[in-house]
């Protein structure tokens, strides 16, 4: 297993948001996490990516326990998540949003970056090429020089994804990546996600568009009121009566 979260418990004042939740992600798989609003999906994402500490339980990644590792170190190890609510760097251009994301930048080191300027520029050139490729694919290339804060909500979701792709993560976690994105672009993104999965990367996706998720996922977890209601192959989960009653019925 590339990632394992076991017996995760989380409470916020008075309410148990996650009740002994366990998930496991196979390397190279696409796993979907579905469930109604308020089920605890984003909270589980935050615990896996290190933005929220679980009350108990443990997270293991690539054979190493990372339960207490800070978020930025997990990102460096290849666990990269996007935010459900876009977290763009508003005052920066779209291109700069992507360039910031590049890892191990010489120009970010102090004070070395201030005099290793040739090496920094060369690295910047390579990163810019990568960024152009990603922006082109997501249809954001024409907007590369505008400030990120001026993008539409859907474009911001795409930017969120674009930035994550800059890091070439091993485990890419997407929190509702298609929300607010035009359907045609959404279709393309899904295809691309399948490609990414085929390249051996592991994906964990929270998505409300069930039909879409069922199409690309190898495995599905259904979270309802902080409890895992079911898990299995998409076809099995879709037939599960409890799931239909608790989630599909409501949706």
């Amino acid at each position: 297993m590339l990632l394992e979260a076991r017996d995760i418990e989380k409470s916020y004042v008075g309410s148990r948001v996650l009740k002994s939740v366990s998930v496991a992600l196979k390397p190279g798989s696409i796993t979907a996490l579905i469930g109604p609003n308020g089920a605890g999906k984003t909270t589980l994402f935050d615990i896996i990516s290190g933005f929220v500490q679980a009350d108990s339980g443990m997270v293991r990644y690539s054979g190493e326990e990372i339960t207490r590792k800070p978020a930025f170190l997990r990102a460096r190890r290849g666990i990269v998540k996007t935010f459900q609510i876009p977290h763009e760097f508003g005052g920066l251009s779209v291109l700069d949003n992507l360039l910031v994301a590049s890892s191990d930048q010489i120009g970010e080191r102090f004070p070395v970056g201030l005099w290793s300027r040739r090496a920094a520029r060369e690295q910047e050139r390579v990163n810019t090429e990568t960024a152009y490729g990603i922006l082109e694919f997501l249809g954001l290339l024409a907007s590369r020089e505008v400030k990120a804060e001026t993008l539409s909500a859907g474009e911001k979701k795409l930017l969120e994804l674009a930035r994550a792709l800059m890091l070439a993560p091993r485990l890419l976690m997407l929190d509702e990546p298609l929300a607010g994105v035009p359907v045609s672009v959404g279709e393309q993104i899904l295809e691309h996600l399948v490609d990414i999965g085929a390249q051996g990367k592991t994906l964990l996706i929270v998505e409300h568009n069930l039909e879409a998720v069922m199409r690309v996922a190898d495995w599905v977890y259904v979270l309802v009121d902080g409890e895992l209601l079911a898990s299995g192959r998409p076809s099995d989960v879709q037939c599960n009566e409890r799931v239909q009653a608790a989630y599909l019925g409501k949706a």
Binding site: S49, F51, P70, A71, F72, L73, A75, R76, V80, K81, T82, F83, H87, E88, F89, G90, G91, L92, S93, D96, N97, L99, V100, A101, S103, Q105, I106, G107, E108, R109, F110, G113, L114, A120, E124, E145, R163, A164, M166, L167
Partner: protein
């Protein structure tokens, strides 16, 4: 002539202070209400080392900057995680504490009496030569600081700092050690404040605790806001506008006798306050802000 030199020297020293604060507040979004503490550490370190221990002047300056940086490091490690507002309050407390230490550790700091006989650079050449040469030295160091800040502003590091300011969580999600970078910015900004403090001490040649009241922090914020927070040239313009105004109104005091001295200084702050309010309402990007954004738009068109 001496008076003109002093106005320019103060303008340059406030420029340097505003540059360091701009790195913290303008680039990274760190609000440091205790900025003057690091100015005081720089001033006292250099003054004590050169006067009491007869260190060479440059060594005193370097030690002043280094000690200010060193003091900010544990403070940053302990408190920068607290988040913006709490950090601002803690730094304000820190600067009050620093002032108390200076007042009470008389053995070390000479207490309220202060330190006299601090040398100007090139003092050996006599007062006529030493003043302009000292001024040139201050100008050169201010220019170097401005160059350093400009370099940071145009590097991937500056871009990352602005990203951290815009959204710290997003930067963390991309693998950036945001706490480390904020501590770094605090330390570098404090070194700049410490150096400015040392330069100040060696220009005025006498320091005492009352010169390092929170007014210095306040004035630096005003200079930065006047010039344009986050803009690269803003601190220079803002610092000189502030110093010309402050010094100009003091000179005027000698010729205009409508108000008492107390009323005059109150009036001064009222005018500054009014100017700030008007500026924030009509030109929130500061005096230099508009030019900066025009330039960045132009460079966007080119690429």
């Amino acid at each position: 002539m001496t008076y003109v030199y002093t106005v320019i020297a103060f303008g340059l020293i406030y420029t340097m202070l505003a540059l360091g604060l701009n790195l913290q507040m303008g680039f990274t979004g760190i609000i440091n209400f205790g900025y003057v503490a690091f100015v005081a550490i720089g001033a006292y370190t250099s003054a004590l080392l050169t006067v009491d221990l007869h260190w060479p002047l440059l060594a005193g300056w370097a030690a002043g900057a280094a000690l200010a940086a060193l003091a900010s490091y544990p403070l940053g490690l302990l408190t920068i995680r607290l988040g913006g507002d709490y950090f601002a309050v803690v730094t304000l407390g820190f600067s009050e504490l620093a002032l108390l230490v200076v007042l009470n550790e008389r053995q070390l700091t000479h207490g309220a009496i202060g330190i006299t006989g601090i040398h100007r650079p090139f003092a050996a050449l006599g007062p006529h030569l030493s003043a302009p040469l000292a001024l040139l030295t201050i100008a050169a160091l201010t220019a170097f600081t401005a160059y350093l800040i400009w370099q940071i502003g145009h590097s991937p590091l500056g871009r990352l700092l602005r990203a951290i300011q815009a959204n710290e969580s997003a930067a963390q999600a991309l693998g950036k050690n945001t706490v480390g970078y904020k501590v770094l910015v605090l330390v570098v900004g404090s070194a700049i404040a410490g150096l400015a403090g040392a330069l100040y001490a060696h220009w005025v040649q006498y320091i005492s605790p009352d010169q390092f009241s929170p007014d210095v922090t306040f004035n630096t914020f005003i200079a930065l806001i006047l010039g344009g927070v986050g803009s690269l040239l803003g601190p220079v313009i803002g610092a000189f506008v502030l110093i010309f105004f402050l010094q100009g109104s003091i000179v005027l005091q000698d010729y205009v006798h409508i108000f008492s001295a107390n009323q005059q200084s109150a009036l001064r702050f009222m005018i500054i306050g009014l100017a700030l309010v008007l500026l924030i309402v009509f030109r929130p990007e500061g005096i230099m802000g508009r030019m900066k954004s025009r330039r960045s738009r132009r460079s966007a068109d080119v690429s």
